[in-house]
Symmetry: C2
Subunit: 150 residues, 2 copies
DNA sequence: CTTTTGGAGTTCCTTAAAGAGACTCCACGA
DNA sequence: TCGTGGAGTCTCTTTAAGGAACTCCAAAAG
């Protein structure tokens, strides 16, 4: 994609988009998350061009979201999520939830999520980290924070 | 951006990316969310080209995420979130949360979120819709769902 | 040894999308 | 009747994505 350069926008959404805003990046993270860790696997599964895959992987590694790890003493590498990257999976789960809800169509959702803690098929919901109650679009006020633009 | 056509991927993440995967789209939604509803406002605030803004708005309206609403009997329109679009704000809040946590730097987060229900400055956390406990990358198993590919 | 193989990229060329900025259209108000 | 402002189009240049062939390298095969 075009050099997104939203980063200077004093907006955490824009900054996040600088890391994973290019359209293949979330799909790459999803694949790595579910255990597709190698270049050729990713290329074949996504149908992405090798050139762009190289660029995206380098970018994600450079941003500290993926880690490039040799798995042989030949030039062979696997990509794994870092902690920073694993926390982006939150985003993937919310995306998947919205897609399940609004775009799944007749057939129903392609993937189900079973929560270890309760054993149930479920999905994510957004709660307030402070009080634990529901926290969606209409439930909050926005205030300027310490890092707000001048 | 390039015609992303992930939709046929039997993946709700890919389908969601077909709706808002183009890099400006989340920022457009953010602006509309916080009350920037008009073409020229959006164009000036984002610095996006008018051509691309037109395309993105049409796409988002076509997907039922935004609604184009006349506010005068001249050709003047405002864009507003539909229910489908308002639920995408979940995604924006999670993006913002991740950016706040990993990219905010010295100055701290540019925006704070005050939760109506408890009155506290807070942020979103992902919980299981079924049991209410924490639900993140490592807390789930993925199973094929009814809409899974053959 | 020499050759083959397979993973992991590079390179090059073509096509499609983004950016910039000038131009259009239209109804109201002066 | 002209000027204004919002909401777009049009056209041209630049940049990114796709596709497919090519390279590099070490272990294994012959």
């Amino acid at each position: 994609m075009q050099r997104t350069n939203f980063g200077e926008m004093a907006c955490s959404i824009a900054r996040t988009l600088d890391v994973i805003g290019e359209p293949w990046s979330p799909l790459i993270l999803r694949d790595v998350w579910v255990g597709m860790n190698r270049f050729d696997q990713l290329q074949a599964d996504l149908g992405i061009s090798r050139k762009v895959l190289t660029e995206r992987l380098n970018h994600l590694v450079g941003q500290g979201v993926l880690e490039r790890r040799p798995y042989d003493n030949r030039p062979r590498y696997e990509y794994h999520l870092t902690q920073k990257g694993a926390e982006l999976v939150d985003l993937l789960m919310v995306m998947a939830g919205w897609g399940d809800r609004w775009l799944a169509g007749e057939a129903g959702p392609p993937v189900l999520y079973r929560h270890h803690a309760c054993g149930q098929i479920s999905h994510v919901d957004l709660r307030c980290a402070h009080c634990g109650r529901s926290m969606h679009a209409g439930d909050i006020d926005l205030l300027p924070g310490p890092g707000a633009a001048a």
